[in-house]
Amino acid sequence: MAEVTVRSLVVQYGKVAAVDGVSFTVKEGEFLTLLGPSGCGKSTTLAAIAGLERPNSGLISVGDTVFFDSARSIWLEPEARSLGLVFQSYALWPHMTIEENCAFPLRLRKIGREERLRRIREALELVDMAAYASRYPHQLSGGQQQRAALARTLVYQPRVLLLDEPLSNIDAKLRDRARSWLKDLQNRVGITTIYVTHDQVEALALSDRIAVMNEGKIVQLDAPRVIYESPDDPFVADFIGTTTFLPATLQTDGKAVLSDGQSLGLPSQGRSPLRGSVNLAIRPERVRIVGAEVAETAAHVNATIKSKSYLGGRFAYDIALAGTVLKVESDKEHPTGDVNLAIDPNALIVFPA
């Protein structure tokens, strides 16, 4: 168990930098997620930590052990790093039973038969797979394979657990269960974990901290709540959750004027000294649709419901406001047509246009 340090990491494929100066630290026992769209460099970063990808420059270390340091030409082969990596495909060796899969890393570590069997049993019990020890991988369901892969990884007590989209091959229905199970497992084992995913829901639910990546760089690294509620960057706002961007012009009185002349109030502790053209980011659940029976006030804006769809328990609306289609969610049903919207000033995040 140890702290992971990644500093100024660069991985280049030809002229393209897949990872472009990434730095972060994972504290002992912490669960850090690398989140981003495909091709953002998150899996490459993970592969570099695991030793499967040789970076061009930077530093990677775990505890006191330096895995890679371009300045001192240090490079440790993957087998010398004592990490655990669960692949998206699980990479269970198909010609070995689950038990043999778990035994292989222990054999490599010259662990005697008795101790080996005890540890395999423990690892399989930890993931509720003890009953499947003699099965071959193809005889297991996706969820079982994923748990077997975790057991194979945990059985040799790696210093850090690396997870590469381990839930993406599981049926949507089972994924929620697998997710809370994984969270619980990490709590119990207490192992430092780096998790790679493109699924924001997984990232928000599992992580102590999230590093949002785009085009090879970390855009924001924060706790899930901070990432969701106060994104630093339009990319983060757009990528996490649903966000509509409303073009507006900032005025000296602290109001934002939309293109059709209507104005919106802004957060009181204005975080941006911006002037002129801006984009206002807004989440669908932060907009309130005001029924026709409520009297119109200055805080309301006029808009038109273009279409709606029932999502089960709540409704999603496409609402035209000042020439932009606003995504809004509500648990009340409203007819299509003209409507008033109440927008909490604190729900708006201002980005430069």
């Binding site: 030793g51 998206q88 198909p94 292989f104 490599l108």
Partner: protein, 564 residues
């Protein structure tokens, strides 16, 4: 009415195809099986059914000796072909070996050359008075090897069969999910350990399939055992059939047929085992995740030593063996004691172009390969379409039928057809023409062409057929308008494979050719026994040139790629 008519014509075509393939496959087999129960030739009227030939065989010591030699030779050469082909496949597909592209490319060369030419190459380079042998004798003082021994013969045959192992295994090796190896590395295994524990077991089905196919090939091999084994008095099952059924002044038809039936049974059993044995192949297949960049196993400091070792091996036993006949064809005598420029000559080529028989055999070979390749491709395509895409009852059996010639050694194809021609009324019209060679060659290589067309046809979704049928097309229209156009690359590949094999083929022809219908392979064999190795080398060189020219042309026209 229209629909009814199209149904009837489709059925007619389907049944005709079935019948044609069935006739072709049974043509050599039936006479052999029947003959084995007769003491007198099949075409002699009034012969009686008897088991006497089998009894005679049972008491024939030379037969048992031949069985023993054939088995040892088969096992040895298969093991050698496995070791070479498997090592090459893993190194080329899974590691960062420098020059691995070239290693793989050279590995395939022996597949495009006739075994006759290979035999000549081995003798010219490594035989008792071969170039390399004499050269080494000069330096070391003695010859460290004997080519004309079971070991030497097995090594030569194993090397010549290694391309098949390589092709089978490299296909499998390329599809190994590289995360399996990465997982082994992360779990603590070094690169060699990861290859041994994970990559190698993944190849088990390919290894097994190619081992059985190579064992079958080695059992039915004629040229190498005949030319490298006979000088030291070794006899094999195929040479037994060839020498007693063809060379002998009074062939004992029944006895030879009984040997042939034994051979047929053994090979058929092996082919069946191969199909059954693979069992639950899912244990070797993985469902991959997202398309990750496949990672190669790094050989580290072993990169260059392994590369140099492998290139040296290929230079000696593939490049030198293949170039030896070419060089030999341009000299009077090939020895390290005379500078090569003193013996340069075009005499070998002048002599072959001076003889009618040579010219005729070259011309016949081209005709057989072109016409046979075309007809064969048509028949195989039709058979595949009927077998896989029609509702003809028993259609699946056609596939089995088309693959069965795998289990029929080339010598037996020739012998069976000779007897069929003498026995079935009407077939004698084909006697002594190249038409009979075309029939024999197509029969022998049905499975090869099938292998090119069947996978491509399976790739085309049956929804194409269903869509066309619902749009109003009959079976024939579906085949000609929808399926065949999509199969064009596979048809090209099929023609290419048949052409190359027909150019190389000799075993099926040795019983069938007559003055006027010689092909390069048979003429080479004739002149080999006359001792004119210069002419044999010249013909071999021409054969290699023909294959090269054709493959280059095919590559340019079709943009086709093979192996490597």
């Amino acid at each position: 009415m229209h629909a009814r008519r199209s149904y009837v014509s489709a059925r007619a075509v389907q049944i005709l195809t079935y019948a044609l393939v069935g006739f072709l496959v049974l043509l050599p087999i039936v006479p052999i099986v029947l003959q084995s129960f007769r003491a007198t030739p099949l075409y002699d009227p009034g012969g009686a059914w008897t088991l006497s030939e089998y009894v005679a065989l049972w008491h024939d010591a030379t037969f048992w000796q031949a069985v023993r030699t054939t088995l040892i030779f088969g096992l040895l050469s298969t093991a050698i072909s496995l070791a070479i082909g498997l090592a090459a496949a893993i190194l080329v597909a899974r590691t960062d070996l420098p020059g691995r592209w070239l290693v793989g490319f050279i590995m395939l060369w022996p597949a495009f050359v006739s075994h006759l030419v290979l035999a000549l190459g081995w003798i010219t380079a490594f035989g008792p008075s071969g170039f390399a042998t004499l050269w080494l004798k000069e330096i070391v003082g003695e010859i460290p090897w004997t080519l004309y021994s079971l070991g030497g013969l097995s090594f030569a045959a194993g090397t010549s069969m290694a391309p098949l192992t390589y092709l089978y295994c490299i296909g499998a090796a390329r599809t190994i999910d590289s995360t399996l190896e990465s997982a082994a590395r992360i779990a603590g295994a070094g690169p060699i350990r990861a290859m041994w524990t994970v990559s190698l077991p993944m190849l088990r089905p390919a290894v097994l399939a190619s081992a059985i196919l190579n064992f079958v090939t080695s059992i039915e091999l004629l040229a190498l055992p005949l030319l490298l084994g006979s000088p030291s008095g070794m006899e094999f099952l195929t040479t037994f059939v060839y020498l007693r059924g063809f060379e002998a002044s009074t062939p004992r038809h029944g006895l030879v047929a009984a040997v042939a039936v034994v051979l047929l049974f053994a090979v058929t059993a092996l082919v069946l085992i191969q199909t059954k044995l693979l069992g639950d192949t899912r244990r070797f297949v993985t469902v991959g995740g997202k398309a990750t960049r496949p990672r190669l196993i790094s050989l580290g400091i072993w990169r260059y030593p392994i590369a140099i070792g492998f290139f040296a091996f290929e230079a000696l036993f593939i490049v030198a063996v293949l170039f030896a006949p070419v060089v030999r064809s341009f000299v009077d005598v090939l020895t390290p004691f005379v500078p090569i420029f003193d013996v340069l000559t075009l005499e070998n080529f002048q002599s072959i172009f001076g003889y009618d028989q040579f010219i005729r055999s070259i011309w016949n070979t081209v005709l057989v390969a072109l016409i046979g390749g075309f007809l064969g491709t048509c028949l195989i395509a039709a058979a595949a379409l009927v077998s896989l895409r029609s509702d003809l009852p028993g259609a699946a059996g056609l596939g089995f039928l088309a693959l069965y010639p795998r289990a029929v050694p080339g010598v037996l194809v020739g012998m069976g057809i000779v007897w069929a021609v003498a026995w079935v009324p009407g077939l004698s019209l084909l006697q002594n023409t190249i038409a009979i060679l075309i029939v024999a060659f197509i029969m022998r290589y049905l499975p090869i062409g099938w292998g090119a067309i069947q996978p491509a046809l399976l790739q085309i979704s049956p929804d194409h057929d269903r869509a066309a049928r619902s749009a109003g097309a009959g079976w024939l229209s579906v085949v000609t308008r929808v399926l065949l156009p999509q199969l064009r690359p596979a048809l090209g590949a099929c023609f290419m494979l048949l052409f190359v094999h027909f150019i190389k083929e000799y075993a099926a022809a040795v019983f069938l050719f007559a003055p006027g219908s010689e092909v390069i392979g048979t003429t080479m064999l004739t002149f080999w026994f006359k001792g004119d190795l210069g002419a044999v080398a010249a013909l071999g060189t021409l054969q290699i040139a023909m294959v090269l020219v054709f493959m280059t042309a095919y590559r340019l026209i079709a943009g086709g790629r093979f192996g490597g």
